[in-house]
């Protein structure tokens, strides 16, 4: 789960001290109060979206009065911000962060993530921060320190100091940065983040450090230990993706017209690949996962069928821990309430595939069956074209 900047700040509160004063608003009416609460002549307002490039897209502004703040809030809240990293529809702005204006002397970069290869935590530090960091890392990799560390020992204080030193900090900055880095490492472990990025970390004109922006990812598998994360989980009604996620499904909307329902991420990607290879366009990626219960698959189908652009549905199931009869049962369950208006091509193989086929054939509904992935794909593409 990607965290909004204001959520990430909230989480860091217990771990580090150098977070600028801020507050978050969800309605334009709250803008003036938020501005006044900061108690400063100016405030920076930042659109809360889960995408980069918001600055250049007009999602960040320094305002000089409550009125100006309200104006900007009115304009931005509820609008859709389009950045180079979003789809053309952009992302809706549902919250704004009001923050005190920090005068920056120097920008630094810090990040924590999981090192998959070495199976450990990784601290990344750089003496230069900002949006050009990737470019810098490519051109001058020696300027970026990548320090693997042991989650069991925790990041050691000397590692934190070493990184701070590498970032060009000395004297009191060295100590302040080391304690900041240690605090972040604890947040990374205790909150089970898979990414924690501070960019930029500012050296302020007042001579201290300040976290200007935070990006954080929480491990969805760890919800069972983190009620505080469950509390801020996107609500199911916010989007199809969120709805799917609330049932443990992985759903990504695409731009085509063939709805796909597949078990397993690899097979789901391969199914999207083959539709493309054969000349069709998938409308979504939908993985019902391993060990899918009837209820989960039922939800998957009803989410899938909500998409008005669909011209055909391709179900590609290779049973393993997921049993094909479970899928069949779920399909019949959904179609009891929702009549099927578009062709559905079913390809089922693996555990209990025969039982599933029998159940579906017995239903009298107009399914088309195939035992081959390519044949099923071609049938789906054909059906989608006819319907169009």
């Amino acid at each position: 789960m990607r965290l909004y900047e204001h959520q990430a700040r909230e989480i860091l509160q217990g771990y580090v001290t150098c977070i600028p004063k801020s507050s978050t608003i969800f309605k334009p009416e709250e803008a003036e109060e938020a501005f006044l609460k900061l108690g400063q002549p100016r405030a920076v307002i930042k659109a809360q979206v889960l995408t980069g490039g918001r600055g250049k897209a007009g999602g960040v502004k320094i305002v000089n009065s409550p009125a100006e703040a309200k104006d900007f809030a009115k304009r931005l809240l509820g609008s859709r911000l389009v950045t180079p990293q979003t789809t053309p529809e952009g992302e809706e702005v549902k919250a704004l962060l009001f923050q005190e204006v920090i005068s920056i002397q120097r920008e630094l970069y810090l990040a924590f993530l999981i090192d998959r290869q070495r199976a450990c935590s990784l601290l990344v530090g750089c003496g230069e921060g900002g949006v050009e960091i990737e470019e810098l890392a490519r051109k001058a990799p020696e300027k970026v320190l990548k320090d693997p560390w042991d989650s069991l020992q925790g990041l050691l204080p000397f590692q934190a100091r070493r990184t701070a030193y590498f970032m060009g900090l000395s004297g009191s900055y060295l100590k302040e940065a080391a304690s900041l880095i240690l605090g972040l490492s604890r947040a990374f472990i205790e909150k089970e983040l898979t990414l924690l990025e501070i960019n930029p970390l500012a050296v302020t004109s007042e001579g201290s450090l300040s976290i200007l922006d935070v990006k954080a990812n929480f491990d969805d598998n760890a919800f069972f230990r983190h009620q505080e994360m469950v509390a801020i989980r996107p609500r199911a009604e916010e989007s199809l993706e969120a709805l799917a996620s609330s049932f443990g499904l992985s759903y990504v909307g695409l731009e085509g017209n063939i709805g796909c329902l597949v078990n397993g991420a690899g097979l789901a990607m391969a199914t999207n690949d083959i539709i493309r290879v054969c000349g069709g366009k998938p409308a979504n990626f939908l993985d019902v996962g391993g060990d899918a219960s009837t209820e989960r698959v039922t939800q998957a189908f009803s989410i899938l069928l909500r998409d008005p652009r669909l011209r055909a549905v391709l179900v590609n199931i290779f049973g393993g821990i997921t049993r094909c009869d479970t899928i069949a049962k779920a399909i019949l369950e959904v179609l009891k309430d929702t009549p099927l208006r578009i062709p559905m091509i079913l390809r089922m193989e693996g555990t209990n595939a025969l039982e599933a086929r029998k159940m579906l054939e017995g239903s009298g509904l107009p399914f088309r069956f195939s035992r081959e992935m390519k044949e099923a794909t071609l049938l789906a593409i054909e059906a989608a074209e006819i319907k169009e």
């Binding site: 069991l152 960019n199 598998n221 597949v262 397993g264 690899g266 083959i274 290879v277 393993g320 821990i321």
Partner: protein
Amino acid sequence: MQIDRNTRVICQGMTGTAGSFHTRLMKEYGTKIVAGVTPGKGGTFHEGIPVYDTVLEAAKKTDAEASVIFVPAPFAPDAIMEAVEAGLRLVVCITEGIPVHDMVRVKRYLAERNAYLIGPNCPGITVPGQAKIGIMPGYIHTPGIVGVVSRSGTLTYEVVWQLTQRGIGQSTCIGIGGDPILGMSFVDVLRLFEEDSETHAIILIGEIGGVMEEEAASYIRSAVKKPVISFIAGRNAPRGKRMGHAGAIIEGGMGTWQSKAEALKEAGVHVIDNPAEVGVKVWTLFRETGLIKV
């Protein structure tokens, strides 16, 4: 790591729904499931198999060598460590949804011990005609000369089934799992396949993300003499919304379909584009190289 019909296997979490179901299927396939482990249910029987409170006890009493794990994610890391500590040389963890920070700890634990872990979030290992330890559908396999290794579950079945339908048998099929942190990696399995006299060719099923395929490519280039055929899923996957710069800084351009496909091709691997044509492409290739004689 020799698995066959005589390999004695215990099942952790056997008394749960998935554990019960797949224990039955494994037994039907011929796997020797000698015990189950469920803390608090020691002394009972389930599916005719004795249940023990601890893996240590189960292993001692039954002389087991391997374990397959179906326990829920919150308890699976402990189950893995328990199996390894009890001296089992192969642990297959089917469980999906284990938090990544837990797996970091498990790997740390494994690093100081001597055992193979397959998974988690994997379909397991099948030696066709001998035994399956995991959840792969049994009938899709047929004995033969191809070693299959994959990060995916169901996509593996798809590929194996294509092979079997065209009469191409498999020596061993291993699904290493789809999680960020895994027990055995592609390289670990490639090493075994290269050494295995039953395996004459290798199929590697990858996915976008991570750099495991790139590592495999570099290992193949340096140490694998047997022919390798590969399919990488996700060529047309939507580029996920990026979150910050850290991932890009670390992977440095790797992780994409292009990066993986190129690395593998440069290592002499045949990279196949259409997932429905793996079987037929392998068949053609084997004809050309003489691995199949008509």
